[in-house]
Amino acid sequence: MRDFILKRMIAVILAFIFVYGFYVILHGHISPGGSFAGGIIVSLSFIAFATVYGIDKGKEKLPEKFLVWVESYGTLWYGLMGLVGICKGAPFLANKLAGIDLGVPGTLSSGGLIGLIGFGVGIRVASTMITLFYTLMEGDA
């Protein structure tokens, strides 16, 4: 009885949690939140799915090769964003000194490199939390 109620409820709520996590990551420079809190909210939806429906169904939806790919290239993305400043003659990880126009403050596409870096860090934190969950649940069996 408990499994039946949980499965029906989780199937409805998970999509809203996922979209809310992406909203918090993308609006990190307008409202409170930012990349770290948004990444953890996105990872919570997958962890709830894997807890209720079993680990095997969770691994079908997100195979481990995809998680390894996202995590490694997410760390490299941050370094590549910093090298944009060096290519234009400014210090490493420079935003305004490298000549990038900052846009209208208050809209979604403002801030130059801040939005891109925040998105990369957000999905990277989500994939780290899911990897830790898979490893700790599997090491017990």
């Binding site: 307008i30 409202s31 409170p32 930012g34 770290f36 830790l132 490893t135 700790l136 090491g139 017990d140």
Partner: protein
Amino acid sequence: MTTFLEKLLINYPYVISVILFFIGTLIILTQSNLFKKLLGINVMETATFLMFIAAGNIRGGAVPILSDTNAPYINPLPSALMLTGIVVSISVTAFALALILRLYREYGTVDANEIARLRNGGMEK
């Protein structure tokens, strides 16, 4: 001339943070289960973050996001620096849990006194 108790009552977040820190210390020193010691470390870290973030507050101030208010903005620096500390706390907790799983596989128990006795007993033979 304010008394000692009135001075303590004005700084109530610092008092709560200090009491939480020593509760965490008591948990580490008296419990013998390894999972409970890990929870004590987490409580001590939470008390430290509370003390730093409460030190940058102004009564009646505004949230540090630019909008049209007349109140002074609070200090954004302690909140921004404690983000790094929270991530370090997560990493230490995850690695300690993995090590406790390895200990359970080797010795079959999660009691700190039992593990010490098993390791010393095996060494004297």
